[in-house]
Symmetry: C2
Subunit: 334 residues, 2 copies
């Protein structure tokens, strides 16, 4: 597999998927093999959620980070499957917290088996991952993963605390994003450097790269919630506005619009509207004041910062792939 990767020319994301297909297939095998509970319900529900179309971006990043740091063994694939378990556990709980019925067009576990099952299977997946990870006997892996999990939970709670809070600042918004999304991606990248037995400086660089692309991804995702083509404005858009979630484009808009518009905006948020008319008005306002451009520029700034963090890594096809993935994080393609 390694040889195949080294001869790959990586121009875009589809090349990355192609070049690392072998590794990613091995991750899928791992994900299936670790579903070994004696309780049938556990395996059924886990299989449903683990096969619901996730892109495996965290496993991919862990593997790329390990390879970029010179690793040629198989532990990265094992850890990659487990980081996807952790990610999936958080999705299960997030869907219950957000009362979501659908994820990527499929019914959520909560919708199919009830929230009880979704909560407990989330707990199970998380614990199963920790059990396996502890088996690696790496203090660095244990610390960076448990810290990431704590930060994710804290990030979700920060977000709940600020819901409907008009006073949230850009700095606080970015802190939430860093916690809820940056932490696990940072941990994935650091874990890659750890299995490669990279020096502390390289481990730190991998962590900061992951954190920055994680933030970039979330900022872009929050922005695209307002920025899809007009004609498709509707159900899948404006989710944050409807939930009273204040994200970067809205923060920008509120700072730059007129007092009258700000007052109307507050009313719209108060009503938690799902109405296309009001959402369209907010989007047109954002376009007028450049809020969407502002937020997407910020996201791209995090991507650039992330790439700079990779400087201590020697040039390689794997490092090139990490650059490509960094750009992909703020694209509309996922």
């Amino acid at each position: 597999m390694s040889e195949r990767v080294n001869t790959c020319a990586i121009a875009g994301m589809s090349d990355v998927w192609d070049c690392y297909r072998g590794e990613l297939d091995a991750v899928e095998d791992q994900i299936r093999q670790n579903l070994d509970s004696k309780v049938a319900l556990v395996n059924t529900v886990c299989a449903h959620i683990l096969n619901s179309g996730g892109k495996r971006i965290r496993p991919l990043l862990l593997i790329l980070s390990a390879r970029a740091a010179g690793y040629t063994g198989r532990d990265d694939v094992l850890l990659a499957g487990l980081i996807e378990y952790i990610h999936t556990a958080t999705l299960l709980h997030d869907d219950v917290v957000d009362h979501a019925d659908l994820r990527r067009g499929r019914k959520t576990a909560g919708g199919l088996w009830g929230n009880q099952v979704a909560i407990l299977v989330g707990d199970y997946l998380y614990c199963q991952a920790i059990c396996r990870i502890v088996g690696f006997r790496s203090q660095d892996v244990n610390e960076c993963l448990s810290e990431a999990c704590r930060k994710m939970a804290e990030g979700e709670l920060m977000q709940l605390s600020y819901r409907d809070d008009a006073a949230i600042s850009e700095r606080e918004y970015l802190k939430i994003v860093e916690h809820k999304t940056g932490a696990l991606i940072a941990a994935a990248c650091r874990m890659g450097a750890v299995v490669a037995d990279a020096d502390p400086a390289l481990r730190g660089a991998a962590f900061r790269f992951g954190q920055a692309i994680g933030v970039a991804f979330q900022v872009a995702d929050d922005t695209l919630d307002y920025a899809a083509p007009r004609e498709s404005l509707g159900k899948s858009l404006g989710k944050d506005l409807g939930e009273g979630q204040v994200t970067l484009p809205l923060l920008h808009l509120r700072t730059h619009c007129t007092d009258r518009e700000r007052a109307r905006l507050a009313e719209v948020m108060e009503q938690k509207p799902n109405i296309n008319g009001e959402l369209a008005w907010v989007v047109s306002l954002m376009e007028r004041y450049g809020s969407i451009d502002y937020a997407m520029t910020a996201a791209r700034g995090f991507v650039q910062a992330a790439k700079a963090h990779l400087d201590p890594f020697e040039d390689s096809v794997h490092k090139r792939a990490l650059h490509v993935v960094a750009d992909y994080m703020v694209s509309r393609d996922h």
Copy 2:
């Protein structure tokens, strides 16, 4: 503190609480000190649930197990606070799963702040505990705790799978109980032996002791759900019957009653009755067939088995205290 403990005469549970008051107060300090999140909501909710009248039986067992294995340091107190975090995290999720509004007469976190907060604070407490525990750098502690957490999640899911299942056997019931309640108490006892640097045989003995008293506790608790004095039959009783939960006294009754009674019993369970009349009929049937005695005898049998597991421990006031706690696990006093 140690000196005070060694001069204590331990006749009953109140002596245990008195003799280890210093250690237990130190655990409370630990519990408070670890609530250091920068998110105010996290600390508020954690403080509420951690101060809601739990007996700290797991922390006590961890400390007693450490002392019985000859430990005189302070790590047991630190770990004891963390095992209570894990226990509290499971309570938060259980209350959401069971749609509970009250716990020990106080409103649940879900009732006060919503299920979203209860789920996420449960996640946070669990992760915070794992973060701190990883800091102890003990592979044995990491393994036994992560394994216990996995088993608890699995136990809760087994229980959900079997809900309303008439075919559950006594063996399957005991497997659920061992997972959902025995696992963490076993881990607490083993962790005590680990901090004491006890040999593998003693660690195993502590684990089996904890597992057996955990099972004893749950069987007794399930039985007392049917066995409280007649006049108080009502809301706080018959919870399991109302939820379609098949526990040991009901399993016994179903095996021993007449076909007609069994058919009526199935109807009663089908309707998920909260009606005093039907519950009273079930309880009177259990009394007639000796189902409550049978289940309580089984619980006491687990206590005896637990005590036998302690044989490898040298005699001490701490070992005496472990015997007293074992008896306490099947009493009506908690």
